[in-house]
C-alpha cells in the first residue's frame, strides 16, 4: 500500500478515536463510540501491516506479529470477562501492559539506532522509556494492592520521599545526559532500572482509598508514554491517541483529587493513612442500633430512599442483594435512588458499573452534586459500605483531616441507616460523627447478609 494511503488510514483512525470519546459522553451513544474506536484501531493496524517495507519482506515479516496477535488475544479475552468487582485491578494491569509496550519499543529503537539518535529523538525516547517503565512497575504494584496480593495499608519508611526523589532525579539526569551522548548503552540500562525501581517505590506508600487517583494518574502516564513514542517515530496518530489518553487520565485525576480535597503531591507523597491514627478522643458514645426487621419497617413506610454505596459494598459483594432491595421497595411505590461519591470504590465510576451490572437502571444513579440538594427530602438514607464520604465533620470541623472534602449530605435525611460490621473507623482513621446523630441507626452486620435479611422481611407478608 502506498505511504499516502497509509497516512490517510491513520488520519481516519485519529478521527475515529476522537469521535469514540465524544460518543462515550452519554449512555445512549456510548456503544456507538466503542464500535467507532474498534474501527479506528482496525484501520491503524491494517494500515501498518500493509506498509510497503513490510509487504516486500513477505510472510517472514509477519511471523512474530501473528504469534503476538494470537497470544495477545488469548490473554486479552479472559481479561475482558473478569467480574465487575475486579475491574480496578484489571485496569491497573492493562495500564501496565500499555506502558510496557511503549517502553519496550523505545528500548528496541534505542539499541537499533544508538549512537545515531538526534537530540530531539533521544529526548522523546528518554521520556517514553522513563514513563513507560515507571508506569509499568507502578501499575503492577497497584494491581498487587488491589488484588490483595500486597498489603493495602500504606507502607512508610524514613526518608522515603528523599529516596524516591533521588532515584527519579538520577534517572532524569541520565536521560538528559543521553540526549547529548546517546552512545552509552549501559547508562540506558541503568536509567531503565532506576525507572522500574521508582515505579515500585511510588506505590508503596499509597493506601487503598487513594487508588482512584493513582489509577487515573497511571492512565495519564501510559498515554503520555505512547505520545512520546509518536515523537520518536514521527507518527502523528500515536501522538493524537496518546495525548487523548493522557488528557483523559489527567481530567480523571483532577476530579478524584478535588473529590478528596487533596493535591497530587499530597496523594503521592502524603502517606494519608499514617497521618491521624492518634485522634485520641475515643470517648464511648452511645449509638442506636436496629435489627433487619426494624430497618425493613422503616424502609417500607418511607416514600423516598437514598442509598449511599461505598467500597464496602463491593467487598461484601452485596450489590445483587441491594438490587433485590431496590425491587422490593420500588414494587411498593417507593422512590429508590443511589447517591454516588466520585471516589466511592477503587477507581473512577466503580460503583456505577457494579450497580449497573446488578441490573439497577442507570437513571437511578445520581452524582453527588445532584443528590445533595435532594437529601432533605429523603426519608431514609441507607449507607452501605461507605464511611468517610458521609462524615459531616468534613463540612464544619476544621481539625478533621478530611475537612473541606466534599461529602454526601447523608445527615440531612430524616432517618439515616448505616450498615457496618463494627464501629471501627474508616480509611482515614477518624470517627464518623454521623453515627452518633439522633436520626442515625446502626445496622451491624455483613452488608450482603444484612440487606438479604431486610429483603426477606419485606417480602414476607406482615
Amino acid at each position: 500500500m502506498h505511504e499516502y494511503t497509509i497516512q490517510f488510514f491513520y488520519a481516519v483512525a485519529a478521527v475515529c478515536f476522537i469521535l469514540a470519546l465524544k460518543w462515550l459522553s452519554a449512555v445512549p451513544t456510548a456503544r456507538r463510540g466503542v464500535i467507532t474506536g474498534i474501527l479506528g484501531m482496525l484501520l491503524a493496524v491494517v494500515g501498518t501491516l500493509l506498509k510497503p517495507e513490510l509487504l516486500e519482506r513477505g510472510f517472514g515479516a509477519y511471523q512474530w506479529i501473528l504469534v503476538a496477535f494470537v497470544v495477545g488475544t488469548v490473554i486479552g479475552v479472559p481479561m475482558a470477562l473478569m467480574p465487575m468487582t475486579a475491574v480496578p485491578q484489571r485496569t491497573a494491569l492493562s495500564h501496565a501492559f500499555g506502558a510496557l509496550a511503549a517502553a519496550l519499543v523505545g528500548a528496541a529503537h534505542f539499541f537499533l539506532e544508538s549512537p545515531n539518535l538526534s537530540k530531539f529523538t533521544m529526548g522523546a525516547l528518554g521520556l517514553e522509556v522513563l514513563l513507560g517503565f515507571l508506569t509499568f512497575t507502578a501499575s503492577l504494584m497497584a494491581f498487587g494492592k488491589l488484588q490483595e496480593l500486597l498489603p493495602q495499608r500504606p507502607i512508610v519508611f524514613k526518608f522515603q520521599n528523599i529516596v524516591n526523589l533521588s532515584i527519579l532525579s538520577a534517572a532524569v539526569l541520565i536521560a538528559i545526559f543521553l540526549i547529548f551522548d546517546p552512545g552509552h548503552k549501559v547508562l540506558f540500562l541503568v536509567m531503565s532500572a532506576l525507572a522500574l525501581t521508582f515505579g515500585v517505590l511510588l506505590i508503596i506508600p499509597i493506601g487503598g482509598a487513594d487508588m482512584p487517583t493513582v489509577i487515573s494518574l497511571l492512565n495519564s502516564y501510559a498515554g503520555l508514554a505512547a505520545a512520546a513514542m509518536g515523537f520518536v517515530l514521527d507518527n502523528k496518530l500515536l501522538i493524537i491517541a496518546g495525548s487523548l489518553d493522557g488528557s483523559s487520565g489527567l481530567i480523571l485525576s483532577i476530579i478524584m483529587c478535588k473529590a478528596m480535597n487533596r493535591s497530587f503531591t499530597n496523594v503521592l507523597f502524603g502517606g494519608f493513612g499514617q497521618l491521624q491514627v492518634a485522634t485520641g478522643q475515643v470517648e464511648k458514645r452511645n449509638v442506636r442500633s436496629a435489627s433487619p426487621e426494624e430497618a425493613a419497617e422503616l424502609l417500607a413506610t418511607a416514600t423516598s430512599v437514598m442509598v449511599i454505596p461505598g467500597y464496602g459494598m463491593a467487598v461484601a459483594q452485596a450489590q445483587h442483594k441491594v438490587r433485590e432491595l431496590f425491587d422490593q421497595l420500588t414494587k411498593r411505590g417507593i422512590t429508590v435512588r443511589f447517591a454516588i461519591h466520585p471516589v466511592a470504590g477503587r477507581m473512577p465510576g466503580h460503583m456505577n458499573v457494579l450497580l449497573a451490572e446488578a441490573d439497577i437502571p442507570y437513571d437511578k444513579l445520581m452524582e453527588m452534586d445532584d443528590a445533595n440538594p435532594e437529601m432533605p427530602q429523603v426519608d431514609v438514607a441507607l449507607v452501605i459500605g461507605a464511611n468517610d464520604v458521609t462524615n459531616p465533620a468534613a463540612r464544619h470541623d476544621k481539625n478533621s483531616p478530611i475537612y473541606g472534602m466534599p461529602i454526601i449530605d447523608t445527615d440531612k435525611a430524616r432517618t439515616v441507616m448505616v450498615i457496618k460490621r463494627s464501629m471501627n473507623p474508616g480509611f482515614a482513621g477518624i470517627e464518623n460523627e454521623l453515627y452518633f446523630m439522633p436520626q442515625a441507626l446502626m445496622l451491624f452486620g455483613d452488608a450482603k447478609s444484612f440487606v438479604g435479611e431486610i429483603v426477606k422481611s419485606l417480602a414476607s407478608p406482615s
Binding site: A13, I18, A20, L21, L24, A26, V27, R31, G33, V34, G37, I38, M41, A44, V45, T48, L49, A61, I65, V67, A68, F69, G72, I75, G76, V77, A80, L81, M82, V87, S94, G98, L100, A101, L104, V105, A108, L112, N219, A222, G223, M229, F231, D234, L237, I239, S243, L244, D245, S247, S248, I251, L252, I255, P342, P348, G349, V353, A356, E357
Partner: protein
Amino acid sequence: MPFLLNATAAPAAPGDGLMSLLFIFLLATFVGLEVIKRVSPLLHTPLMSLTNAISAIAVVGSIVIAAEQKTTLSTVLGTIAVTASMINIVGGYMITYRMLIMFKKRETK
C-alpha cells in the same frame, strides 16, 4: 528512523518536523480535554477502559519493530510489545462494550 517517515511533508528547515509534532500534541490534548470533560461520571470506568484500548495504538510502533527483525533483541522486544498492545486492544474494547451493555434505563423483565 528510516521507517514511518512521513512521506507527505519533507521538513523545509530543521525543527519544522518537531514543531508540527508539538502542534499536533497540543491540539490533540486540547481536544481530549474538551471531549472528556463532557463524559458523565456515570461512565468514568468505561472511559478509562476505552482510552486504555485506544492508547494501545502503540501496536503501530511495535508492529514495525517486530516486522523488521533487525536484531534478535529488537525482534524479541517488538514481539512482546505487540503482544502487550494486543492484550489491551482485545481486552479493552471487549470489556468496555460489556460494561456498556449493563447500563440499562428500565428493567427488562
